[in-house]
Amino acid sequence: MTAPPTPPALAERVLRAAIRDPEWREAVSGDLCEEFDDIARRYGLPAARRWYWRQAVGLGARFVAGRVVPRAAPQRWQVRDRDLEPRASWTAFRDIAYAWRAIAHRPGVSFVIVATLALVLAANATVFNLVDALYLRPFRFPGVDRLVVVASAADNGAETDYNSVAPADFRDWQRESTTMSLLAAAAFWDPNMSGVDEPEQVPGFLVSPAFFRAIGAEPLIGRTFLDSETIPGSHRRVVVSHGLWARRFGSDPRLVGRTIRFDGEPYEVVGIMPPGLALPYGAQAWAPLAYTEEQWAERGRGGLLVIGRVADGQTVGSARAEMTSIVGRQRHEHPETNAQRDLTLASFTRALADGYAAPLLAIWQAAAFLLLVIACANIANLLLARGAERHQEFAVRMALGAGRWRVARQLLFEGALLTFAALVVTVPLAMAGAEATRRGMPPGLHRWVPGIDFIRFDPSSLAVMAGLGAVATLVFSWLPALQASGAAVSQSLRDGGRTIAAGRSRGWLGTGLVVGQVALAVCLVAGAGLVLGGIDKAVNGALGFDKQHVLTAEMRLDGPAYQEPEQRRQFVERVFDRLRGMPAVERLAASSSLPYSPGGGLLSRPIYPEGLDLTEAEARPARLHRITPDYFDVLRMPIVEGRRFTEADRPGAPSVAIVSRNFGERYWPGESAVGRRFRTAPDGPWLEIVGVAGDIVQDMLLAREWPAFYTPAAQEPTFATAFGIRTGSDPLAVSGELRRAISAVDPDLPLLQLRSLEQVVAERAGGIAHLARLLGVMGAVALLLALMGVYSLMAYAAARRTQEFGVRMALGATRWQVVRLSLRQAAVLTGLGLVAGAVLAAALNRVMSSTLFGLVSFDAAAIAVMTLAIGATALVAGWLPARRAADLDPTVALRME
């Protein structure tokens, strides 16, 4: 014998299972093991094994009995103590114990319920954290709720541009307002930083000294601006962000007092902001807003963002009332400039949060909530099925004197325990969800979508989840509880559980729940599919231009070297000269902006066509691109009528424009636009239309094919300049040449972005595509849940009818006839669900196409395809259990209980 003999493993397991006290379990099994050796040596192994079995069973029975029959004297005091407790809490405690036992008794079902709930609650928490970060609280500094953004703009149908206040208007407000303790102005200023190892364009703002006080920002090192620094000449001071300081200056505290060159001029660094401050719009550098008296007197146009702090004792409402009257008076005092202007006063958060996010987030939140409803229906269905099986248990308890409320309460406790377990699992899931969402955000979005850094699991969302969980518990426990407490006691006991399952309540409730589930799942899947399809179209669909093989580079020609238009024009020419003739470069163009580009060169102008006498309020804006002649060739856009620009369209030549096809159709429907004239100000110079270009998608979030017009860049060279190079192969292979060409012409100029047009398009859609995937995941989960619902209901129905199937088959029915019986029920269920779901989905589609601008269009065919696909899978889910029931041997089926 090599290894020592060991006791029979099964017997040992029986023994260990019987003894609950761990010390006793160890001592007893150890003692037996010790004796087993001895006995095996003396009487042989088989005898020892028999002996061990006898001992295990005997001892086990004794320990189990000791547990069931309370031991006498020594424990009595405990019992008496419990009796003294208030009765209600004692029974509640016991109900929880019962509930726990019921849950532990069916680990499979309980696991499914907890997993479903956890998944769905985690989805809700993730979306909630997203909404909280991007919409509810994208700015988190003290006093943000007292800040407002004020603007007065002509109402011309476009969205309010908050960065549009004229300097003279702002001066009036500052002087006259009493409801606001301070008013600060800020203007876009994206300077080129040079004199460092690599030039770079820095997102920045020119701000009045009150700005930092308004947002309550204290510098980490140094100071902010003095009032005296707003006087032109002494304004070359800069405050830099913590990020810029760390990234470009190695967090050197001696940076304060040194000078940095911005747009070629020396600025003294006076302060460094603490980490996380990047207001407004991701600013990394701030300089004083130093207008001359002449500039301050400008009332016709402006680009100021005005931030006000509502004074203590005042409300946003009183501030709005006061500002309305001030803006009204300005209308009368300066009719020539202010006649069309209306006040817009919004909270700081609403004005500066990403406007596009709100409708998307609302859809996401609604989807997450729908998912929760589906999950509740699913769980209620599972519990209903279980409740039907447990009818006898409840009947016995009620016969023994338990009230209906006691029985119902136990089910509620079961639900609460399940929800609690799910909540525990939800927390890490929600953390991972928020983390993945934040990580997936493309970095380019950070400037325009504030709050991205706040997308993380917030403990407060735990409270929201607990609330949702509590509601869910009530919903999914209430139905089975209602059913259980309504059970007819004597009936249930007599029936012996044989027919009770066919009770009508279960039938109605279960069917209704499954129909609702299928409907909502169709709705969710269709919604997710439409958004994903829309994004795919915006990235890969017909854009009106060819994004392949184009290298883009965006920059700003700022600083003293580019003040004259001719200087800017020559810069572009010189870069072209260096690139022309390179084998990889096919076509070259420059423009104020490229499609899908979020850059600073985005222009739009109100259109006053000749012959139509439009007021400022009536004139609708169109996109403007100032382009070099080859622009349409680089983007491969068709010229459908007239001519393109040539080298002859130079300064001094007649002002000409090319318009998009829909531009022409808007003003001259059915007629040719070529030869017509329009202007961009009521008294501006006329532009003659010489050609019509194809429509393009300017930006996925704007209405598709926004009207646009093009003017020759040579006639008015812009500061913002985007190069586009069409190449024969990989566009990024040319990036080195472009970089060298630009630095050879001017080594101080930074390139803002150097990407292929394909990348530009994909990155622009990146954030929303990322969010759309989240919606896709939710749709998939919803579908899975609904299929589970169909499956479980059909499995339940089939199990219930197994006997009936047996009878039918014994009497000669074929298997297919039996399956068809079940399948018909499944088909009716899913059919009802699909019809309801398709109607809901169509309604949702309408809502989405109106809120998501051009992204989602109404697509009945897509909805129909998705509905049919879901219907087919649901039928399969219903067919599986039916087939299984029909596969049973009739004699077996007949004997089934």
Binding site: W24, A27, D31, L59, R62
Partner: protein, 110 residues
């Protein structure tokens, strides 16, 4: 102060065995000792129940030893008498010997 419990016959035997075994008092030798000295079989279940009851009464105290390979890696549960247990043993013994006093002639017949 807790009332001194009265020991039943089997408990009396178990207490005596525990004291006699000293540091080696755990399930197996306790049972063997009682069987050997009394000549009667002792059911293991009865022994464990008795030990547990004595511990609950406060007459015995137990501690777990170290895991041992010959026991499949499990520890022994060693028992020692508590002061209360010793008092109970003495009073039970005294009560029995008081009763038997003067009956030696009958009791000690072969």
């Amino acid at each position: 102060m807790a009332k001194t419990p009265y020991l039943g016959e089997f408990e009396y035997a178990v207490m005596l065995a525990v004291i006699r075994l000293g540091d080696e008092a755990y399930g197996v030798p306790i049972r063997e000792l009682i069987e050997a000295r009394t000549g009667r079989p002792v059911a293991r279940g009865a022994l464990y129940t008795g030990l547990e009851r004595l511990e609950i009464k406060g007459c015995l105290r137990s501690r777990m030893g170290d895991p041992m390979p010959e026991r499949g890696g499990r520890a022994r549960r060693y028992f020692t008498a508590t002061p209360l247990g010793l008092r109970a043993l003495r009073s039970t013994h005294a009560a029995l010997s008081n009763l038997s006093k003067g009956l030696e002639a009958i009791l000690e017949q072969p």
